[in-house]
C-alpha cells in the first residue's frame, strides 16, 4: 500500500512510520528502503475531506498524522510535485482552524500542548507560520507549564511528562 509497519514480524501500519522511515532515510541519504512514489501515493490517500491527513486512508484528519504526512512528503522530496495549490490550501486552512489559543488535534476536541508542535510546525512546513497567533499560543503553553516540577503537561493542572515538555518547548518556537 506504500505504508510502513514498525517491526519486520508485523505490526500496525500508518503515517507515523512512514514519517519515521522518511526521517531515517533522509538522515542516511539512502532511500533504498522506501518506495517514495508508493509512499507518496499512500500519504495523499490519507488526506480526508477535511483537508487534514488521517493515519490511514479514510481515517479522521488528525494533527499528529497531518504533521507526519506533510513532513514525510517534504523529506521524500515529493511535496512540491504532488501537493498542488488546492491541496496545500486545504491542509493549510485545516491546520489554522486548530488554533483557539493553543492548538487542538481535531475539530471539537480540547487544545493540548503537543499540538503546538504537531500543527505549529506543520504550518511552518506549509509556509503558514506567519498566520499563527503567537501570543495566544504562548499564553496557553505557559498555563500548561508545571510551577513546581517544571516541564509541560497536555492540559493545565495535569502532571508533566517528557513528551509534552519536548513538544511544548518546540511549540514555543
Amino acid at each position: 500500500s506504500g505504508s510502513f509497519q514498525c517491526a519486520s514480524f508485523g505490526t500496525e501500519s500508518d503515517a507515523r512510520f512512514v514519517y519515521c522511515a522518511s526521517c531515517i532515510s533522509y538522515m542516511l541519504q539512502d532511500w533504498r528502503g522506501v518506495d517514495r512514489s508508493l509512499a507518496t501515493q499512500f500519504l495523499l490517500s490519507c488526506q480526508s475531506y477535511e483537508g487534514g491527513f488521517g493515519q490511514n486512508t479514510g481515517r479522521e484528519a488528525h494533527g499528529g498524522s497531518t504533521f507526519c504526512s506533510v513532513a514525510a512528503l517534504k523529506l521524500m522530496g515529493t511535496f512540491d510535485e504532488v501537493m498542488c495549490e488546492e491541496r496545500r490550501q486545504r491542509v493549510l486552512s485545516w491546520c489554522l482552524r486548530r488554533q483557539e489559543t493553543g492548538f487542538n488535534g481535531r475539530p471539537n476536541k480540547p487544545k493540548d500542548t503537543c499540538y503546538s508542535f504537531w500543527v505549529g510546525s506543520c504550518l511552518k512546513l506549509l509556509g503558514g507560520q506567519d498566520f499563527i497567533n503567537k501570543e495566544g499560543n504562548f499564553a496557553f503553553l505557559m498555563t500548561t507549564q508545571d510551577r513546581y516540577m517544571g516541564g509541560f503537561s497536555k492540559w493545565e493542572g495535569y502532571l508533566p511528562d517528557p513528551l509534552h515538555s519536548y513538544f511544548g518547548l518546540s511549540g514555543l518556537y
Binding site: T11, S48, L96, P107, K109, G136
Partner: protein
Amino acid sequence: LLYTIKFEGIMMYAESPEWSDIVPIPLPHNDKDPVVQIMYSDRFKDVYSYMAAIMEKKEYSHRALLLTNDAIECNTANYTVWHYRREILRHLKMDLKEEMEFSASVIEEQPKNYQVWHHRRCLIEMSGDHSLELELTAESLSQDNKNYHAWDHRQWVVQQYNVWDKELEYVDELLALDLRNNSAWNHRYFVIENSEGWSSETVARELEYAASFIRKAPNNESPWNYANGIIKKNKLRYSDFPKLKELCTSLYESHVPSNFVLSTLADIHIEAENKEAAMEIFEEMKEKDSIRVNYWTFRLQQLQGS
C-alpha cells in the same frame, strides 16, 4: 543471585519450582554510566528476565503463554511480547475464543494501547470471525466517543468484511448524542464513499443532512467541514448545490455569529468570480476571526492582486 521475595503475594519466577529449569537472562543495564536508567521494579525484572530466556529458547508452551500475560501486564506496549504470544497461540493451535475475551479485557483497561488493538485484528484475521467487533467498538466508543483506535478498528472491520449496512444508523445515533463528534462525521463520509458513493442525489441528501445540523449549531466546525469537504473532495461546484449558499446567506443575514458561514460564503463568491463580495467577507473576518487575522489579510491581498 536468587532471592526469595513474595512481592504483593505474587510469586517470583525466580523462586518458582515450575520454572527451575530456566536460566533467566537479566535485563541489560549499565552500572558504570547509565544515561537514563529506567527504574524497573523487582517484579518487572523478574518477569522479563524469564521472558527473555523463554524467547531465546523458542519455547511455545502453555506456561510461556501465562508468562506473556505477566509480561503484557508489566508493559502492555511491548510489541515483541505480543508477537511472541501470537506465535504461541499458533503453535498450540489454540481456540481463539478465550483470546478474544482476553484482548477485550485489555482493550477495556487500556483503550489507547496500539498493540492490543493490532492483536485483536490479527486474531480476527486468523479466525475470520468479526461478529463481535461492531459491538466491541461501540462499547469502547460509549466510553470515549472519539477514541482513534476504536474508530480505526471499526472502519477496518466494516471495510474488510463489507458490513456497511448498520453504519449510517450508528452515525445518526452518535450525532444525536453529540452533534460535535467529528469522528462520527468522518465515519459517515467514509461509509458513503465506500458503499453508495457520491452520486448527485447522495450529495444533495448529505448536504441537507449537514445543513440540518448547521441550523442547530451554526458554529460547529464538523458539519461545515463535511459539507465543504464533499464539494471540494469530489471536485464539485457550489453553484450546482444552491441550497448551501441559501443557508449561508440566511444565516449571514440573521447575523448568526459563525466564522464558517463567512468563510464558506467567501469560497462560494470566489467560485462565482465575485471578487468584491469575497473581499468584503475577508475584511469582515479579519475582525470576527481575529486569531487568524494574518491569514484573512493574506487571502484579501491575494484577491486584490489577482
